[in-house]
């Protein structure tokens, strides 16, 4: 099966500084991959390079088999949906209108959706529990609700690959778990790459973890393999203790 995303020896420089150095990653259908690392470790840069939003210094990027820089924006959008770290709704449009923007690549105008587009919007709204908020304006809802609305927009795009940059940032534990469940639901038909600072949530949700420090891979693999006190210390620069209670895992930094 061809990879939904493949990065080979990828290096990216931002403002002359190496942000990602020699990272390789292959994402295939059905996988959930979490990117872990301190602030500035290169998680966002890795995603943006994978989407073709920034030009790598060296290495190869293939999005759905094609070079994202050579794909037209529509083709790129049909291969991957992206939730930026701080998603914006510059104008206070309604939640439903925002989610409908996810159908842009299909030629949909938010005010005149076809049956298929409306169905995709409805499904995404339902998946993110936004039914009661669909006609509310984006400046009238809470931070957590905004985060879910933007996630629903990305889901409505119906791209096989979902790239989510800190989708649980600022969410309470229940909402963060709900987002984790949404991520798992998407995986069977596609794949999800997400970044987070919640190590326990990443271990619970992802099939594979990629731990980064200063743009380089510290560890990669299934949570049970990749997460050790040593790799966590190498990633975050603080000593860490890992406790396992059944399937759940807690990490305490000191």
């Amino acid at each position: 099966m061809s990879a939904l995303l493949s990065l080979t020896e990828l290096s990216v420089a931002l403002a002359g500084r190496a942000a990602v150095s020699g990272v390789s990653l292959t994402v295939t259908r059905g996988e959930v991959i979490a990117l872990l690392g301190a602030n500035g470790a290169g998680k966002t840069t890795l995603m943006r390079a994978g989407l073709g939003l920034i030009v790598p210094r060296s290495g190869m990027v293939r999005l759905g088999g094609g070079d994202p820089h050579l794909l037209n924006p529509r083709d790129r959008a049909l291969r991957a949906a992206y939730l930026p770290q701080r998603p914006q709704s510059i104008w206070p449009i309604s939640v439903e209108h925002l989610v409908a923007l996810g159908r842009y690549a299909y030629g949909a105008a938010p005010e005149r959706l076809s049956g298929a587009d409306q169905a995709a919007v409805d499904t995404a709204i339902q998946a993110c529990s936004l039914e009661k908020l669909r006609s509310r304006r984006m400046d009238e809802i809470s931070g957590g609700e905004k985060a879910r609305a933007h996630l629903a927009r990305a889901i409505a795009q119906h791209a096989p690959l979902l790239m989510l940059d800190e989708p649980t940032a600022g969410l309470d534990p229940a909402q963060a778990l709900a987002v984790a469940d949404i991520i798992r639901t998407h995986a069977p038909g596609g794949a999800v790459v997400f970044s987070t600072h919640d190590v326990a949530l990443a271990a619970r949700t992802a099939d594979r973890l990629l731990l980064l420090r200063e743009g380089r891979v510290v560890a990669e693999g299934a949570p049970s393999v990749a997460l050790t006190p040593e790799t966590l210390e190498a990633t975050y620069g603080r000593s860490a203790r890992i406790d396992r209670i059944g399937d759940a895992l807690t990490v305490t930094f000191s």
Binding site: P73, R76, A81, S89, L101, A105, A109
Partner: protein, 321 residues
């Protein structure tokens, strides 16, 4: 019918009423503007109708350019006046006048508006927040203002100076059907370009990266809107001189009723701009002043406080956030 469609219909009716009112009212009140006597025909067809239509078309062009630029730059304070497009268009026309090429003034206005639009887009694309972009525009406007002042300073004779001053104050007085045709051509061309970019403006609601990620072609959107806004502002300024604030006020008023979707604001903003300028021009014609108040001056007197009000509201909103 959606809010934007209902509003557009209402604005069309208001525009038609305003245009008819403009035919009736003036120094000589006409009982029936459609009467076939020579005096009425001359007043209506050679004076009032061209003037009222020019006012409507100039207002529509400025309203449309304002709505499009606000969508592109994601900034409710953007318009062709604030961003220096109108100032540069005026500079182009002043240069054409000063060198004795009055017939080339529209072309010069368009080219200079285009240059300013390109500068604003390049300089402002990566800036965040309304303030920095408006500052770039203020800088460009000041530069254009300084160069226009230089043109006035070096005007060859008092007659030329008076012409230039009158023109830079902004007016549709004494405009002919030729002017109507000229501004129509620019408005139609600009509107076609801008409406092609309407979906891209919708996508930009999400910010640049997310807009690109949902499949919007940002380069295409940018080029179409910049060219379209420059055509509208250049055409309007070439015919009527500098008329500010319509481009800010029209979209702002329309948002109250039609919502915030930048694509759905375009047509109502053009209609509102047109209606506003016809009403404003009729008002300046009726004011009992010895010298007729220039339309650009009236627009600045009314529009300035509106601009300050919008800026203050935005500032208080960002302070709350």
């Amino acid at each position: 019918m959606s809010g934007a469609a209902r509003l557009s219909l209402a604005l069309i009716i208001i525009s038609v009423l305003a245009l008819f009112t403009a035919l009736y009212l003036g120094p000589v009140a006409l009982a029936n503007p459609l009467a076939s006597d020579d005096e009425t025909r001359t007043i209506v067809w050679q004076i009032r109708l061209p003037r009222a239509l020019t006012a409507w078309l100039v207002g529509a062009a400025l309203g449309l350019a304002g709505a499009a630029l606000q969508g592109l730059l994601r900034n409710p304070l953007a318009d062709s006046g604030v961003l220096g497009l109108s100032g540069f268009a005026a500079l182009g026309a002043v240069i054409a006048f000063a060198f004795g090429f009055a017939s080339l003034a529209p072309a010069a206005a368009l080219i200079f508006a285009l240059g300013a639009a390109a500068l604003v887009t390049v300089l402002g694309w990566s800036t965040r927040g309304p303030a920095s972009l408006v500052l770039i525009g203020v800088g460009l406007s000041s530069a254009a203002g300084g160069l226009i002042a230089l043109g006035l300073n070096l005007a060859p004779n008092p007659g030329a100076l008076s012409d230039l001053v009158n023109w830079t104050l902004g007016s549709v007085e004494g405009r002919s059907l030729n002017d109507v045709v000229l501004v129509s051509v620019f408005l139609i061309a600009g509107a076609a370009l801008i409406l092609f970019a309407a979906r891209g403006l919708q996508a930009l609601t999400l910010g640049e990266e997310a807009a690109a990620a949902i499949g919007a072609n940002l380069t295409r959107t940018r080029v179409l809107v910049v060219l379209g806004a420059a055509a509208c502002a250049g055409g309007a300024t070439a015919v009527a001189g500098v008329i500010g604030f319509v481009g800010i006020a029209a979209p702002h008023l329309v948002r109250v009723m039609a919502g915030h979707d930048p694509a759905r604001l375009l047509v109502p903003s053009a209609l509102a701009g047109g209606a506003m300028l016809v009403v404003a021009d009729t008002a300046v014609r009726l004011l009992p002043t010895d010298t007729e108040l220039k339309l650009g001056v009236a627009a600045a007197l009314v529009g300035g406080p509106i601009f300050a009000l919008i800026a203050a509201r935005l500032a208080s909103r960002s302070a709350e956030a």
